[in-house]
Symmetry: C2
Subunit: 338 residues, 2 copies
């Protein structure tokens, strides 16, 4: 294995990406962030670990993209405009130069795509593996900074009884894409497989939608732990219950085809996670605005249910209702990353 | 091994520490930070890994303190007032409930001591160890936020020829304390050993000094990689060279006693790292102010040399001069964490 030292990794691979003045060219141990006047800074941090949150054999450029995008997705759910990131990477026992070069290229492209500055970070390495031991895995912790006008961040806590429950995009793709990668699924039509795997490896942070939702959404969260788990967080924080309809949950053709073959995969739609779509609540009397928002932001939006007063709801938290009005048990209440 | 799930860890151990309004009680995936008007936010992130940056058998409360304090030390070197942190922890294969409870207690006490808010974070876990494999290590990445009046952050890049080179506290304690823990040193007098080990495990971020240095220091850095390495960073960023005098470098009695027994330990003073003191440069014509600053901030300050124009210096970067005017080679130019 060939790997340059940490100092050279920073100098050769990461410093060229740190072009913002506040990054101090990564020559300092800290960076400067100046939010616009009358804005709050929104900060979030997420760790991704090889073979927990991504696969060791995922393309390295996609690993960088995912590490970044899961954080941008948190900013999107807050209605924040991304500013920059700090990038802390702990090299795995087997992370080599070739891997790091592809990783840095993916990071670079995505920073440009999303207009986000690399402001600083920390590059560390796990100890080499013991002779017959398994090497410690590559781990990336990105901290992302965004800004919102003062007091205008979308929170999980504002949902009210009667609000519509909405979700962007389609749900379940990534969790089923992961099963396709692990070989736990029947063979798929090639283009379905490629679509699902891509959804697992390259989530799309819904930044334009998040910004637009500031003008109306009562609560929002990104769907990372699983649809029911993340809606459950909104219910907990808002003190309400949610009723959602299975038939209304937006699903890709690839997912519906898999579920037709194996109905148990329904659980991956309800609780699989890794979707990085936005679940939000919206006042019912402003329902007609949703179509315009969808068009403006080029983001599919689907109403999947409504919020209920806890006392009038069938159950605490999230209830999923099937085609015949029956309650669908949620087998796996979402993978709890924490 | 007993360990509650990640969700319970957050709820039981970390959420009670997150009392600031911007933390949203850790019920959201992001936090809000609002710097004071006309202030820049200073951000920094540092990762500590078991058996790389701390020892697996260090007391868990000290591990939390160290993870926090190495970040506060970066803020101190910028002249920033700490505001809050994001805390990303990846549990090692063998991290159990008892460990985490002691860890959280240490974190809690230090947050109070330094007046720092826990704003959010991410709790993840490594996969369990393979049967005969070594478990992946506990890893903590803290991102710290501080503020400085706009444009007033201390940087590495302002040192000028003629400036005095100064350092706080004593140098070399932590690196020699680590050698005492690994058994690589001759037996020590018990109170010397306790002192050195404590300096390794509980660095003291020089926050009061950092704030005061804004009124005069031309450049500053914390000594984490090693005295010569970190002064070298100031030289690189400022385009100057440093000449420092071995006899002037402040050392504890415990360190001097060890060096008397084994002169090779001198390299650990010059390059051992983990000191978390502040190295800074100061205009020579304001030397008399240093005594007052030392008194005001209750921090020992020692002048150890001066900055030189690169063209007039004996060598690029840092030159260490011995008692007879000879140049002391720096064997180990600091542990490069990155």
């Amino acid at each position: 294995m060939t790997r340059r030292g940490e100092f050279r990794i920073i100098q050769d691979l990461f410093a060229p990406l740190a072009t913002a003045p506040g990054a101090l060219a990564l020559r300092d141990d800290a960076a400067l962030v100046t939010p616009s006047p009358h804005h709050d800074l929104v900060v979030t941090t997420d760790t991704v670990i090889a073979d927990v949150h991504f696969r060791s054999d995922d393309p390295p450029d996609d690993v960088a993209r995912k590490a970044l995008r899961v954080n941008l997705s948190d900013l999107a759910a807050k209605g924040a405009r991304p500013i920059g990131i700090l990038h802390a990477i702990t090299l795995g026992a087997e992370t080599d130069d070739a891997y790091l070069e592809r990783y840095a290229r993916g990071l670079s492209e995505d920073l440009t795509t999303f207009g986000v500055a690399l402001l600083g970070g920390d590059t560390t390495a796990h100890r080499p593996a013991a002779v017959d031991g398994q090497g410690a895995p590559l781990t990336v912790t990105i901290t992302a900074f965004g800004e919102v006008p003062h007091g205008r961040a979308l929170l999980r806590s504002g949902a009210k009884p009667g609000d519509l429950v909405c979700v962007s995009g389609t749900i379940g793709d990534a969790a089923i894409g992961l099963r396709a990668l692990t070989g736990a699924l029947q063979p798929l039509v090639a283009d379905h497989r490629a679509y699902l795997v891509r959804r697992y490896r390259r989530p799309e942070p819904r930044l334009a939608l998040g910004l637009r939702l500031r003008r109306g959404a009562t609560a929002a969260a990104d769907v990372s732990d699983g649809l029911c788990a993340d809606l459950g967080h909104i219910c907990d924080a808002s003190g309400v219950a949610a009723e959602i309809f299975w038939h209304a949950i937006p699903r890709s053709r690839a997912v519906d085809r898999r579920i037709a073959d194996d109905p148990a995969l329904r659980d991956l739609v309800l609780g699989g996670g890794d979707d990085y779509e936005i679940a939000f609540t919206w006042p019912a009397d402003r329902r007609q605005e949703l179509t315009a928002i969808s068009t403006e932001t080029a983001t599919p939006i689907t109403v999947i249910g409504a919020m209920r007063d806890i006392s009038g709801a069938r159950a605490k938290g999230v209830t999923v209702i099937g085609d015949y009005g029956q309650v669908i048990p949620v087998a796996q209440p979402g993978y709890v990353h924490g």
